[in-house]
């Protein structure tokens, strides 16, 4: 329990570059046991804390923070670890219950459409929740919804048309400048 673990090793202070390895890949994490992954998570967590404190200190003192890509590499390893654990839990729930993943359902939006919304955990039942009642009482049709949807459709058509035009013009210009290119 040493507070200096928040900082890097002494000989790395003031360096221009620190050599380090690459992030953990999913194939390498899948063969490890749950206990190993549990320990690895905290090692990565502590490393990230150390890097972030060093970054803050260097910016405060006006010094160069060496090798800032280490933070992104640690982030990558942690994301991969999270996904591997989610895979394993999803497999277990699928075996036990027959479904996996987070539950959800279709919900009416104030814009006259329907969207698939993932469920959240609440402490209060839905019949006692005022926001649920408000969402259920939204109008499903009407003048405002009709006007909004028609204008949204016009906007989507316009952007799609402009994108297509931009691509066609770009291709035409490329053929003009590079008539002998072998593609398109």
């Amino acid at each position: 329990m040493d507070l200096m673990e928040f900082f890097d090793v002494d000989k790395n202070w003031g360096e221009n570059e620190i050599k380090h390895g690459r992030s953990w890949r999913k194939e390498e994490l899948r063969i490890k046991s749950n206990q190993d992954l549990h320990k690895l998570w905290f090692i990565l967590y502590k490393e990230k804390n150390m890097l972030l404190t060093m970054q803050q200190e260097c910016s405060e003192l006006g010094e160069l923070f060496p090798s800032p890509e280490r933070i992104e590499k640690v982030d990558e390893s942690m994301e991969n670890l999270q996904e591997v654990i989610e895979e394993r839990d999803a497999a277990v729930t699928e075996l036990e219950t027959g479904t996996s993943g987070r539950k959800g359902d279709w919900q009416h939006t104030p814009f006259g459409t329907v969207r698939y919304r993932l469920f959240k955990e609440h402490a209060v039942p839905p019949w006692a929740n005022p926001t649920v009642k408000a969402w259920n009482q939204l109008p499903r049709a009407g003048y405002a919804i009709w006007k909004f949807q028609s204008r949204l459709r016009e906007q989507r058509i316009r952007t799609k048309h402009r994108e297509r035009r931009r691509e066609e013009n770009h291709e035409r210009k490329l053929k003009e400048i590079f008539p002998h290119s072998q593609i398109d």
Partner: protein, 245 residues
């Protein structure tokens, strides 16, 4: 996490993760404001690539807010044939007919820099020094027109095709003579190591032997349950009732 082919091939030498490169580019948006209140920096849609890499100072300055560059029309290339370290002949300019090795590639501009050839001379004043010194700088060459790979059998420029050998290996073959042109050893070089076998292990790295150890035994327990069992934690409290909606 799959990298797009362009990004992967350009930055293989740096070995940087994609998230780090993307953070260095495309700044600006609702939250980024200049020093004075009220001035908003618009989100950059197109990055202007140059001689230096996007995370380096020179390229960041070329892409500072308010600076606009004319549109770059790139000839679309299906497969890149010129790699780092290849022997290549220059077909334009003062050094026409000379051969040299490629030491730097910028795929976003179809540029190739040959070691020592197609250069310009310029004076650079050092901040501490008094007299300006003359420096030789390589100029970019277009991959399609200005440069051609050299056939090692007769040392002349050729056109190249990617083909498969009998074993199934993908190699470059010159269309004139049919000789295979091998990749230089510099292709696998990165900032961290010259080749994978010569990499020096750092104190915080996991070694290759530790990576291959298989410690996972499949069981029908969730991650939480497995950890609780191995630590000897027994939960007797009942969780409070919650609703999912």
């Amino acid at each position: 996490m799959k990298l797009s082919p362009v990004l992967r091939m350009c930055y293989e030498y740096s070995n940087f993760p994609k998230a780090y490169i993307e953070k260095a580019m495309f700044k600006g948006g609702k939250r980024e404001t200049a020093g004075l209140a009220g001035i908003k920096i618009r989100k950059k849609k197109k990055w202007h690539y140059g001689v230096s890499r996007p995370w380096e100072e020179e390229n960041q300055q070329e892409n500072r807010p308010g600076v606009h560059h004319p549109k770059v029309f790139l000839e679309p290339i299906k497969e890149w044939k010129v790699m780092r370290g290849d022997l290549v002949e220059v077909l334009v300019g003062k050094d026409k007919g000379k051969q040299g090795h490629v030491n730097y590639i910028v795929k976003q501009r179809n540029w190739v820099f040959v070691d020592g050839l197609h250069c310009k001379y310029e004076y650079i004043t050092q901040e501490t020094g008094l007299k300006p010194t003359m420096v030789k700088k390589e100029l970019p060459l277009c991959v399609v027109n200005d440069v051609a790979l050299v056939d090692p059998s007769d040392n002349k420029p050729t056109e190249i095709q990617w083909r498969f050998t009998e074993e199934g290996e993908r190699v470059r073959v010159s269309t004139r003579t049919g000789r295979i042109i091998p990749l230089a050893s510099m292709v696998h070089e990165t900032k961290d190591y010259k080749s994978k076998s010569t990499y020096k292990e750092q104190p915080k790295d996991t070694t290759a032997e530790d990576l291959e150890v298989i410690s996972y035994k499949p069981n029908v327990k969730t991650f939480e349950q497995d950890i609780m069992d191995s630590m000897g934690i027994v939960e007797t409290k009942k969780p409070a009732k919650t609703w999912w909606y």
